[in-house]
């Protein structure tokens, strides 16, 4: 259930609150991942959403998606409870350039939007565009 689409996106601004997006993520490697929420890490400087993705053979891979900072998410009305553990979501994002997993072994990527099974969009936005949005 894992599709990787490559696409080119234009960015109006590379202004980031914390780090250069282009130094860490590849905006030519856009990914769409469907899976179950394992946890929401409400941490600085960026929240992380962990998604368990099961492939055709039943093998589970955990993806770690970097999101906006908690202060930016909170100002848009989202919280650590905006996603429930175990719920099905589709995440759109970008792969990390170095291709290396995080220390816990999860696949490292950056999310720009997370859509729940009932069509809600949460944690919209990415350091790819602008942290103030």
């Amino acid at each position: 259930m894992l599709g990787i689409g490559l696409g080119v996106l234009l960015f109006v601004s590379s202004a980031s609150a914390h780090h250069s997006f282009a130094a860490e993520y590849d905006n030519n490697k856009q990914v769409t991942v469907k899976g179950l929420v394992q946890k929401v890490a409400w941490v600085n400087p960026h929240a992380y959403v962990y998604i368990d993705v099961t492939d055709e053979n039943g093998k589970v891979t955990t993806w770690a998606f970097e999101s906006l900072s908690p202060n930016a998410l909170a100002r848009q009305g989202w919280s650590r409870n905006s996603l429930k553990v175990g719920e099905s979501v589709t995440v759109q994002g970008y792969l990390a350039k170095d291709g290396k997993p995080l220390a816990d072994g999860s696949v490292h990527a950056n999310s720009k939007s997370i859509t729940t099974a009932d069509g809600r969009k949460v944690f919209v936005g990415s350091s790819a565009d602008d942290a103030t949005k």
Partner: protein, 245 residues
């Protein structure tokens, strides 16, 4: 009960109700940084008649303002290297202080007393700046500082802030414009009305620039907002994954 005491009781109840409402709701948690409408009204003043800069202020997209800094050849070369590596070595990405005048896109809170103004940064590493308004000069033999040493004075309704004593580790913006330890920052803060704060920033650096450079920022007042917590070092896994190209 006499009419006066009825009125008095009524007022007390109103005060209690509004206090309760505030306690229940607190300051707004949500809002659209960079797009909030500035409230209208006259420039607030302190009891001694000075312009009052107190408040939570949103720099909006002017946080990224800097303009074209006239760099000496060595500084231009360093800048181009930082551009080529896509800012992978930005100190801010390692949760080090942004320095001055660089700021984050998140709000700043100004706290003002007659002899001291404190600026609290929500973003970056929760840096603070102390703008000393008590007539002191800069200390002699300053050690290199991340945020510099700031003294301030009034020029009519303009708050003039003079800052020196920097290290050469910070970048002037996210693109990596460099400066040396000779950086001298002069800021002229004005509050033309209730909802706006303007600052004209002049940078001098005899070691890194060919001439002084001036740019401006405009802030919008966020009435009743609060700054949020942002503890950069909590889980900064980015640092080891910043590879550049």
């Amino acid at each position: 009960m006499r009419p006066n005491s009825v009125l008095y009781t009524f007022v007390l109840v109103l005060i209690a109700m509004s206090a309760t409402a505030l306690a229940q709701t607190g300051p707004p948690r949500t809002g659209n940084l960079g797009n909030e409408k500035a409230p209208a009204g006259p420039t607030p003043r302190t009891p001694d008649g000075k312009v009052d800069f107190s408040g939570v202020w949103d720099p909006g997209f002017s946080f990224a303002n800097l303009g074209q800094v006239p760099l000496q050849p060595w500084a231009q070369k360093l800048y181009e290297e930082r551009r080529a590596s896509l800012s992978k070595d930005d100190p801010e990405a390692r949760c080090l202080p942004a320095g001055v005048p660089r700021i984050s896109p998140f709000p700043q809170k100004f706290v003002q007393t007659p002899t001291l103004i404190v600026i609290l940064d929500e973003g970056n590493v929760h840096s603070y700046r102390q703008l000393f308004l008590d007539g002191r000069g800069h200390p002699k033999d300053l050690e290199p500082l991340w945020m510099g040493d700031s003294i301030a004075h009034w020029d009519g309704d303009v708050l003039v802030v003079d800052t020196i004593g920097f290290n050469d580790k910070t970048w002037l913006n996210g693109q990596g414009v460099p400066h040396s330890d000779q950086l001298h920052v002069i800021e002229r803060y004005t509050r033309p009305d209730l909802g706006h704060l303007n600052v004209e920033i002049t940078l001098e650096d005899s070691k890194a620039f060919t001439k002084p450079h001036t740019f401006t920022r405009t802030y919008t007042l966020l009435p009743n907002w609060e700054i949020h917590e942002y503890v950069c070092n909590e889980f900064n896994v980015d640092a080891e994954h910043l590879v550049g190209k």
